[in-house]
């Protein structure tokens, strides 16, 4: 039975949630404001920025004229979709085997995979850089796709493993008794049932790959550089650059923000999948 909540508590909870939400969204909102200001106006006091100065699109025009946005954008799209697709190819069989055919080492394997996420990336930068140099993968979309797939793989496997565990093994057994092969079992029985979970895994992985800034900056120069490098090129050691940097940031985060906005229902559903019976 649901616990009775008074109106006053409801209002207080809503106010606190709203305030926290605003606090978290404020940096993005401020970037949005600065992107539509001139450089001189962008460094004024906050109230002057909002009410004491005009609005302009000149920073967007400058950024567009000076950089090839669409090259960076297409690199971001290819790398995040590619790494997600490759990750799923590896993660679905791995999660299936751990969820439905566990061994006594499964738990340790899962923990080991998670532990690789605890390693500071900079600790393996030089070896990976040297490997990439020797394999001629530096500044290639393929190399970056592989790296992003590998760094996000533990998360994909963990998420899929959690979703697969929620699916009763008896359903798969029934499919097997009907003569389904392993491939058919995974493709036609397991996958459709885990669609909400897989959808949220895909979305989360795309977001993580899109926003990844360490490897994408360190392993690229110009050909494979995604939007993360596009942003950093507008920070300057001298002179005014806040408005142009904000415009570049808005252009870089807008696609993923819009995608997240439209898919938030799916994302929340997937992330809470299995939490409530």
């Amino acid at each position: 039975m649901a616990r009775a909540v008074s109106n006053r508590t409801k209002v207080a909870n809503t106010a606190i949630a709203g305030a926290l939400g605003f606090l978290m969204f404020f940096p993005i909102l401020w970037i949005l404001f600065l992107a539509f200001k001139t450089e001189e106006d962008a460094i004024r006091a906050p109230l002057e920025v909002l009410f004491g100065s005009g609005w302009t699109m000149e920073s967007f025009a400058t950024v567009q004229a000076r950089s090839d946005y669409f090259k960076h954008f297409s690199n971001s799209v290819i790398i995040s979709l590619g790494s997600t697709f490759l990750g799923l190819l590896v993660a679905i069989p791995a999660a299936w085997s751990m969820a439905f055919v566990p061994s006594k080492h499964t738990r340790n394997v899962l923990m080991w995979m998670l532990s690789t996420k605890m390693l500071p990336p900079v600790g393996v930068l030089v070896p990976i850089y040297l490997i990439f140099r020797d394999l001629e993968l530096l500044d290639t979309r393929f190399g970056l796709t592989i790296v992003l797939m590998l760094i996000n793989l533990p998360i994909i496997i963990w998420m899929l493993y959690t979703y697969f565990k929620e699916i009763p093994g008896e359903i798969l057994e029934a499919a097997r008794m009907d003569g389904a092969t392993l491939r058919a079992e995974i493709l036609y029985v397991l996958t459709p049932m885990a669609i909400p979970g897989m959808a949220s895994t895909v979305l989360l992985n795309i977001i993580l790959a899109w926003n990844e800034a360490f490897w994408t900056i360190n392993l690229t120069a110009s050909n494979a550089a995604p939007l993360t490098q596009f942003i950093t090129s507008y920070s300057s050691p001298e002179g005014l650059f806040y408005a142009k940097l904000s415009a570049a940031s808005v252009m870089a985060i807008a696609p993923i923000l819009i995608m997240g906005w439209f898919s938030q229902k799916q994302l929340v559903r997937g992330l809470t999948f299995g939490a409530v019976k």
């Binding site: 000076r66 950089s67 030089v126 530096l138 360190n218 120069a221 110009s222 300057s236 001298e238």
Partner: protein, 441 residues
């Protein structure tokens, strides 16, 4: 059949030319920062591309990211870049390590006229007598001041180098926070390239040095104590609030907005501050030398942004061709003609500094030249030192030590610790790092 012969020869000639142009057309990658001079270069570079048939990939990065990214690439021989935009600190260290291509052969090209580049700047970009980078612009530090506020306060602008004691008295007179004007704005943000650029030169003026001749750190000396005590007092008495958040950019914005009466900082900011399109104080700003105290040695810093070719580049010949174009007399003249002479990068070529068009558009260019010539990175301090560099020490360990000392000085400025504590911590850290690196047995 002369006609047939001629046609055949012409066809063969065109064929060879086409093949040759196909063979030499290369794509080079340049790693650079996003500053005004490099933006102009990117704008003009298509002229070089058209003339040579080569093309350029620009990789523009934030300064710290650029340093980390280029260091990693050059140290591992990654070969991602054919040209790097680097500073006077990295060039001699990387050159001595064999990571950069020597540019000594530029001296053999009479059209390039290497001798026209200031000797001081060439020395700063050389190691073991070899030139490893060519400069786009060079800077020192001098004092920006507001002529209107000096006049109002009845202060005569200095014509000779004044002392820091006199400077503090001036700043106190000019300090008027109720009307939104601070007596002085100086760098407070921690970092070897931020607060320590100013603090380092000020320490030189007070007779301090980073190391003695045996590489023993000297940060607990009375000279360092006097310098940092002066700095903290100056900023507390006549500086803006929250100065530890202010680096070069923030102070430049404050000065241009009319909030600062004085500012000791890079000569390269002069064009921007004196440009009416970008500054509110363009007509009421002038300059004088950075102050001295116990000595006049090392009172203005020396920095140069330059272009270098990593030894790992496979296209060194094309890269050299671009470097010659981008630092030639003709390039600087082209900047003057297209962007205005006030935008011409300063502190590099003697012939450009003597050009009447520059002297007319930027009368302060002469002051900048005089200030640059007053600097000697090989003799930066009152007492002898084993290192070169005015506001930095040209050894790889300096970056870590300079950043740490910068953090301690910023903590002292913020009142989180005393000057004595800050310097004791700095000394301890520097001794540990220098011992670890093998300088101290």
């Amino acid at each position: 059949m002369p006609t047939k012969h001629t046609l055949l020869s012409t066809a063969v000639g065109f064929g060879i030319a086409a093949l040759a142009s196909t063979a030499v057309a290369e794509e080079i990658t340049i790693a650079t920062v996003n500053n005004a001079d490099m933006i102009v270069m990117q704008k003009l570079a298509p002229q070089w591309e058209e003339a040579t048939g080569n093309s350029i990939n620009w990789v523009v990065l934030e300064e710290n990211v650029l340093r980390q990214r280029t260091t990693q690439d050059i140290a591992t021989g990654g070969g991602s870049f054919d040209i790097m935009f680097i500073g006077a600190y990295e060039t001699p260290i990387w050159g001595a390590n064999g990571w950069l291509t020597s540019l000594n052969d530029f001296g053999d090209d009479p059209d390039y006229d290497l001798e026209d580049i200031f000797q001081l700047v060439r020395n700063g970009l050389s190691a073991d007598g070899n030139l490893y980078a060519v400069p786009l612009y060079s800077e020192t530090s001098f004092t920006f001041y507001r002529t209107d506020l000096f006049e109002k306060a009845g202060i005569e602008p200095p014509t000779e180098q004044i002392t820091y004691t006199e400077f503090a008295e001036m700043a106190a007179k000019l300090h008027d926070p109720d009307n939104g004007v601070f007596g002085t704005c100086q760098r407070g943000k921690a970092g070897w390239g931020e607060n320590m650029a100013f603090v380092g030169t000020m320490a030189n003026a007070f007779g301090a040095r980073w190391f003695d001749m045996d590489w023993n750190p000297q940060l607990d000396s009375p000279e360092w104590n006097a310098a940092i005590t002066y700095y903290v007092d100056l900023m507390n008495n006549s500086g803006p609030p929250g100065a530890t958040a202010n680096g070069h950019n923030e102070n430049r914005a404050l000065f241009k907005d009319g909030k600062c009466a004085t500012w000791v900082d890079a000569t390269s900011a002069a064009n921007d501050v004196r440009n009416p399109a970008t500054s509110n104080v363009a007509d009421v700003t002038d300059f004088f030398q950075a102050p001295k105290q116990e000595t006049d040695k090392g009172t203005g810093w020396f920095w140069s942004w330059a272009l270098a070719i990593p030894a790992s580049s496979q296209k060194a010949d094309v890269a050299k061709d671009f470097l010659k174009w981008a630092t030639s007399k003709e390039y600087f003249q082209m900047v003057g003609d297209t962007e205005g002479w006030v935008a011409v990068p300063s502190g590099t070529r003697a012939s450009i500094h003597e050009d009447p068009r520059l002297l007319e558009a930027a009368p302060f260019a002469e002051t900048i030249k005089t200030a640059i010539f007053s600097v000697d990175p090989a003799d930066p301090t009152r007492d002898p030192v084993p290192y070169t560099g005015v506001q930095f020490v040209a050894i790889p360990e300096f970056q870590g030590i300079g950043n740490y000392v910068g953090q301690q000085v910023a903590a002292a400025l913020a009142g989180q610790m005393t000057v004595e504590q800050a310097l004791a911590n700095s000394q301890q850290f520097a001794v540990r790092e220098m011992t670890k690196a093998g300088y101290i047995k």
